[in-house]
Symmetry: C2
Subunit: 231 residues, 2 copies
């Protein structure tokens, strides 16, 4: 039931998970500062636990930890973003091919159910859900490889991708091109590893193409334009 009066003190793992989740769901955009006392009071613990959580997140590369200047969410540069997609282009086609090698009925069922969720979110114009779901789709594939290392790597790459999209997509609209995930599932279901890999490669290429690297400091000017600043 979990109804403690004080809800028990969260562990550093809890804090880590919460921040990680906040990054994935875009509640913590790139560049946001993560002050220790602020987090500590928010979670109802001392700075100690917060610091270990931040150290772990920094080790993952999803937050930056400058000495004596605290932690902040990474703002991926164009180069870093390309590095993320380079690595994804190496790993994810291999994952897709691996799944295509033995497309279990159970796996396909789960993937197709996920596609329906994506379509529903797309139809209802629920952008927040859609963005989350398209990200989860890739993680779902990684989970079915049964390799914890691969899963961990992809979780990290997913966050970086998420931040890059937030940073380099002016319209906060669609993340993954309309319906390529369906093609991916079909390719996996076909049992042709090379086809699945190729489909993934082109899909990732399209996601990267959807980014607009021209504006180097988008959020700054955008913020200035939008601030009403009465008087």
């Amino acid at each position: 039931m979990q109804m403690n009066a004080t809800t028990a003190a969260p562990t550093d793992q809890d804090i880590y998970d919460r921040i990680f989740g906040a990054l994935l769901s875009r509640r913590l955009p790139p560049g946001v500062r993560l002050a220790e006392v602020e987090l500590a009071t928010a979670f109802g613990v001392s700075r100690t636990k917060v610091r270990t959580a931040l150290a772990r997140l920094a080790q993952d590369g999803v937050i930056e930890l400058r000495r004596n200047q605290g932690a902040s969410v990474v703002q991926p540069t164009e180069a870093q973003t390309r590095h993320v997609f380079d690595l994804r282009a190496i790993v994810e086609p291999a994952i897709a091919a691996d799944l295509a090698r033995q497309p279990t009925k159970q796996v396909l069922t789960v993937l197709r159910r996920h596609l329906r969720l994506e379509n529903a979110a797309r139809k209802h114009g629920n952008d927040a859900d859609l963005i989350r779901l398209t990200g989860e789709f890739h993680r779902l594939l990684a989970e079915y490889t049964g390799n914890p290392l691969v899963l961990r790597l992809l979780r990290e790459l997913e966050v970086m991708t998420c931040l890059a999209i937030l940073r380099f997509t002016p319209t906060a609209g669609a993340a993954c091109p309309c319906n390529e995930h369906a093609e991916l599932v079909d390719a996996i279901a076909s049992g042709e590893p090379e086809r699945a890999a190729a489909t993934m490669r082109t899909h990732l290429g399209h996601v990267l193409e959807g980014l607009d690297f021209r504006q180097t400091q988008p959020s700054l000017s955008a913020m200035l334009d939008l601030s009403p600043m009465p008087h």
Copy 2:
């Protein structure tokens, strides 16, 4: 000159690096316990810095951090070892192919110089150096991709491989099969990406074949046999 009387207090990064290096050079075999006060006194700092360094190493997956039971070097299981090699088999052929796509003269020079170092160590029977050098070779390839993410991933996989070899190789002898690294450099120099990738795949396959997973608790019995225990 760096000649302070007290040598300045090491940062947690220093501690992290030192432990990481100790793992790579096999001075910290799998299963070794890492007590906080022991490390703290050894480095001349308080437990605080040690704890952050340990948290980061645990995040990398190279040490294990059980609650209230402290840290210890991971003892890779057979399954974990196969996962490591599965991921290496995905990433490293892509690295080799990438280098083969544009085999710079400078890169080839460095790689060939590294081969000479390996050969020298092999000829002189200097196992410790040989093991270190063969590991470094793979990291060297990752460095030349110019992708920090790839480099970081491979550093981590290198440690895990190192621990797995230590755990599953009865004779503490050769790590990488005799001279396949030379073949790899030749394949890269040929400028044929697919050939370089294939060479890397077979090489990694050979390294994995060199492991003996039959003994589940090798170090234990070995230790018992070797202890003279006079009287």
